[in-house]
């Protein structure tokens, strides 16, 4: 069964080649006439005022944290969903309790305003 994963590895390697080759081709065929203005970061024609790596909104970080929680939840759901037909009502209700806890957390986030982007 593991042999089935070999084509995936080959596909990934070929994907890397497909990405690198055109860039190399462009490097060889394209002109190379750099100058200071051309290599400066784009900022509507002005020289950049300050460093581009500005502090960003904390909400992006919050979204990332929430994403981890919910993505883990999905990871727990996958094996359950595959065998749902075999585990019957007991399995169904067990998962509903888990889902209920998460929904309470979700409602809490919502009420606290973690999902607001005004």
């Amino acid at each position: 069964m593991l042999g089935q994963y070999l084509p995936i590895l080959i596909f990934i390697l070929l994907g890397i080649v497909m990405g690198v080759l055109p860039i190399l081709g462009g490097w060889i065929l394209g002109p190379k006439k750099p100058n200071k203005e051309k290599l400066a970061a784009y900022e509507c024609g002005f020289p950049a005022f300050e460093d581009a790596r500005l502090p960003f909104d904390v909400r992006y970080y919050l979204v990332a944290i929430l994403f981890i929680i919910f993505d883990l939840e999905t990871a727990f759901f996958v094996p359950w969903a595959v065998v749902l037909n075999d585990i019957g009502w007991f399995g169904f209700w067990a998962m509903m309790i888990f889902l209920g806890l998460l929904v309470i957390g979700f409602i809490y986030e919502w009420k606290k305003g973690a999902l607001e982007w005004e």
Binding site: I10, G15, W27, A52, Y60, T74
Partner: protein, 354 residues
């Protein structure tokens, strides 16, 4: 030893046989998009290069190939060059598990859907690294927006996948399609209708397409994460985006519209008439339908505001999916017909366990 090398070469040939048509499809998708949007807006679209402008994608390719690769002084040059490759690889590698017809799949792994879910979420690294390595304000803003948007919609998409798993009882993409046998009414789009919509909206958002293209947002942050890219490095991002469009359309066709199955199955006369059509043609037709929808959406809708996108993702799509998973669980446990009867649930169960 020789046998192993033979297998390796044989696999490589199969991989190339998938990749080359895919890249050709990507090239012509760009042409089709410009042509379709042109007609929707009462223009003609590209018509100068070749007959009906059919050579346009190649002209574009060679133009981009001979353009200068600009690497800004302020950027991290290695990350800057790695980012486009990182964006392209997942978009291509995901095709390893897509079944094109019954038995026609490169690697028939049992964790097919999980693999798709995992590898399609890797695409965000390319965008994030591109935005950060460029060291430009617009690029950073675009990358942050894109990353937050992609991960938000990934949750809804993941729950939509869970719904498909519940209904089919397997992660194997081929078995998921086989589970939808028995005509158009047995395809998953009916029992999973809300999840189908949620999946499609998330797919549009995941590929950063209009109306959810704030990551590029030409009118506000010029081109977002690829503002500093030129020539071939830009082309690679472009290819990745279009390969992803085809991918999400193919997944939609496989999971919700019966993949390669004929829509005329079990319809007396039509079934016999369309018997000669190969399964691959149906899959291509369904995928193309979704692609047309993507282009149509872009031509029709104005861009969403960023807070509206986040609200739609978190406060509308996620509650809908959670609700529908509960409903689905109830209907599967009580064997609601005609989709979840004992016999139907047994279809894939046997192939999966056996």
């Amino acid at each position: 030893m020789i046998h192993d090398i033979f297998i390796l070469i044989y696999t490589l040939i199969k991989v190339v046989l998938i990749t080359l048509p895919l890249l050709l499809f990507v090239a012509y998708l760009t042409y089709l998009e410009r042509k379709i949007i042109g007609y929707i807006q009462g223009r003609i679209g590209p018509n100068r290069v070749g007959i009906y402008g059919l050579a346009q994608p190649f002209a574009d390719f060679f133009k981009l190939l001979t353009k200068e690769l600009i690497i800004p002084t302020a950027s991290n040059r290695y990350l800057f060059l790695i980012a486009p490759v990182l964006a392209l690889v997942p978009a291509l590698a995901a095709w390893a598990v897509i079944p094109f017809s019954e038995g026609l799949v490169l690697s028939n792994i049992n964790a097919g859907l999980l693999y798709l879910f995992a590898i399609s979420s890797l695409g965000v690294y390319g965008i994030l690294i591109a935005g950060w390595a460029s060291n430009s304000k617009y690029a950073l803003l675009g990358a942050m927006r894109s990353a937050a948007q992609t991960i938000s919609y990934e949750i809804a998409m993941g729950f939509a996948f869970v719904g498909v798993l519940m209904a089919s009882g397997t992660l194997n993409l081929q078995d998921i399609v086989l589970h939808q046998q028995g005509g158009i009414l047995h395809w998953f789009w009916i029992p999973l209708l809300p999840l189908f919509f949620v999946y499609w909206v998330s797919a549009v958002a995941e590929t950063n397409r209009a109306p959810f293209d704030v990551a590029e947002g030409e009118s506000e942050i010029v081109a977002g994460f690829h503002v500093e890219y030129s020539g071939m490095t830009f082309a690679i991002f472009f290819m990745a985006e279009y390969a992803n469009m085809i991918l999400v359309s193919a997944i939609a066709a496989l999971l919700f519209l019966g993949g390669w199955l004929s829509p005329f199955e079990n319809i007396p006369v039509l079934d016999a008439w369309f018997d000669w059509v190969p399964g691959f043609a149906w899959l291509l037709l369904k995928t193309s339908g979704f692609l047309f929808l993507l282009i149509w959406l872009r031509a029709t809708f104005p861009r969403y505001r960023y807070d509206q996108i986040m609200r739609l993702g978190w406060k509308v799509l996620i509650p809908i999916t959670i609700l529908w998973i509960v409903v689905l669980g109830f209907s599967i446990e009580s064997h609601l017909g005609p989709w979840f009867t004992e016999e139907r649930m047994a279809i894939t169960h046997d192939t999966f366990v056996g």
